[in-house]
């Protein structure tokens, strides 16, 4: 069961990427996503792939572990890929391979399918590197820090971050509690394993209600404990942990900037994703 802070998928090793500032990592991830969607041809995607491989190597997370994150959305990738294969159409003329009623498979749709699948693949792999190398606590700190400008429009940044970190902290506690309640209800003859969907959904109710009641009681206790420890909102509060931007982040910045520039140039000089077809069909 998930009974650790490192729930989710944090991979605990020390590495260049692990030691980067979470704020920097979040920004780089956004830049990386932008890069994926900027890429118009296979050369640009190859550049993104090379970048990803470099990052994974630097993070010392095994490739298998990163690939595992794709498993969860494999169905989505296959599904969209198949749809694209059969139903691709554009204004331009297609090089048709096979046609049956409303289904058309063309060279363009094959290319498009591969391109799309690669994009999704890179997207998921890249974002999972972030969660594999950053603890939820560090992520929360990073998000809080990045959202700081929103304080100007009176957005409760500190409160939001506190809510997030308390939620993270209570996940293992509530997990244990759920297990205990399930065991208690089983001991009273509750059945969670058999029956149809509705029957099973109904069986969950006797677990959810005690869990909810206990969560409220815990919240009340926690409120008292926070009051007793002088909590009075963001005003006049200091912060123990300070995020520091280091040479690693500066290096990351250079890498990411190089990636984006590289992709723009590759897009400009090497044509669209179908350029490869021109090479074959104009011979």
């Amino acid at each position: 069961m998930l009974n650790d802070v490192t729930f989710g998928q944090y991979y605990p090793v020390r590495s260049f990427v692990h030691n980067m500032d979470p704020r920097a990592k979040i920004v780089f991830m956004i830049a990386y996503i932008v890069a994926i969607f900027l890429a118009k041809n296979f050369f640009a995607l190859a550049a993104v792939t090379a970048f990803l491989i470099l990052i994974v190597l630097l993070s010392r997370v095994p490739f298998g572990r990163v690939l595992r994150s794709v498993k969860m959305i494999l169905f989505l990738i296959v599904f969209t890929a198949v749809l694209n294969l059969f139903f691709y159409s554009s204004g331009a003329e297609l090089h048709i391979i096979w046609h049956w009623k409303f289904i058309t498979v063309s060279w363009e749709s094959v290319i498009n399918m591969i391109f799309l699948a690669m994009r999704l693949f890179l997207l998921v792999m890249g974002t999972s590197v972030l969660t594999l190398t950053t603890t939820p606590v560090a992520l929360t700190d990073g998000i809080e820090s990045l959202l700081t400008p929103l304080k100007w429009i009176r957005f409760p940044v500190h409160e939001l971050a506190l809510i997030m970190s308390i939620a993270l902290r209570f996940i293992p506690t509530l997990m244990d509690e759920t297990n205990r309640i399930v065991a208690a209800q089983k001991a009273r003859g509750a059945n969670f394993e058999t029956g149809g969907l509705i029957k099973r959904a109904k069986a969950v109710i006797p677990v959810l209600i005690p869990l909810l009641v206990s969560a409220f009681r815990r919240a009340e206790d926690l409120g008292d404990a926070m009051d007793a420890r002088c909590y009075s909102g963001a005003k006049g509060r200091t912060k123990y942990k300070k995020l520091v931007f280091t040479w690693r982040d500066a290096l990351g910045l250079i890498f990411t900037a190089a990636l984006i520039t590289g992709i723009v140039f590759l897009n400009l000089y090497l044509g669209g994703k179908f350029a490869i077809l021109d090479y074959f069909f104009t011979k």
Partner: protein, 278 residues
């Protein structure tokens, strides 16, 4: 110096109850004292604790901490800085997922500068013997360890009074021992004023003074040994004797010439002495 002063304090949770949870308590606790507050469930002992650090404010009467009236909203922050509180459930007091972050929570709240917070975390974790778990996840610790972290979280605010509201109630014997050792050490070495709310009579023996509450009133107040000597009176408040005292009393009733003992060692010696006589 007087740390806590209660003057005819009454407190009612809801007016429709019509019952005072604390009913006219007058009390004075000096700095450096170790006071155990005893009483059965619903005797008002936890309410009394919450009245000290202004989590609750008296309905009638006056409660003062270092001369500051708890009813005055301006004083609340200062009072809570001086009177820290550890609660019953070890799972419901931590706010962070890492021990040191949780200990930092209090000092952060009162605006302590960063470098100073680091020092305070060191001090607090050393005091409770949890330095080795500085980067651990509280959810992975045992109950006793969690409570020690909670004590460290309070210590980092550097209070003069530490209130433990049944903080050992949910722990196993070993966890209870851990927490009691830390509390005793704080009282002896740091001169911390300790208010220990408990229903374990044996814990009360470690205090300098014991107060018995019954139906919201203070009915007994004195040195623990003295209080436990009045066993009939204690029984009338549905309280039992510490285990060793209970056994020695029963032995004496059965005709064995043992004097009242309070600890297992004392009891053993008494039994040996009486056996030698025979």
């Amino acid at each position: 110096m007087e740390a806590i002063r209660f003057d005819k304090v009454k407190f009612m949770y809801r007016e429709e109850d019509g019952v005072y949870a604390v009913n006219g308590v007058t009390l004075s606790v000096n700095e450096g004292e170790f006071v155990a507050v005893l009483g059965r469930n619903g005797s008002g002992k936890s309410t009394l604790a919450k009245l000290v650090n202004a989590l609750l404010v008296p309905t009638e009467g006056k409660a003062e901490v270092f001369g500051l009236d708890t009813a005055d909203a301006k004083n609340v922050f200062e009072i809570r800085k001086n009177a820290g509180m550890v609660f019953q459930n070890p799972d419901n007091q931590t706010v962070a997922s890492i021990v040191e972050d949780d200990v930092a929570f209090g000092p952060e709240n009162i605006g302590v500068p960063r470098e100073e917070i680091a020092k305070r975390i060191d001090f607090a974790l050393d005091a409770v013997g949890m330095q080795a778990f500085r980067h651990a996840a509280p959810s992975r610790l045992s109950g006793g360890q969690k409570q020690r972290v909670a004590i460290a979280g309070v210590l980092a605010i550097r209070p003069k009074i530490m209130i433990l509201d049944e903080s050992t109630a949910m722990l196993d014997p070993r966890g209870r021992r851990e927490v009691m050792d830390v509390v005793k050490k704080l009282n002896k070495e740091e001169g911390m004023t300790v208010i220990l709310i408990t229903h374990f009579m044996d814990e009360a023996l470690e205090a300098d003074r014991a107060i018995v509450m019954h139906r919201g009133e203070v009915v007994m107040d004195g040195v623990p040994e003295e209080i436990f000597a009045r066993s009939e009176e204690l029984e009338s408040y549905n309280l039992t004797l510490p285990r060793a005292a209970y056994i020695s009393k029963k032995l004496a009733e059965g005709g064995m010439p043992v004097k009242g003992a309070f600890s297992a060692e004392e009891l053993a010696e008494e039994i040996c002495a009486s056996l030698r006589k025979v």
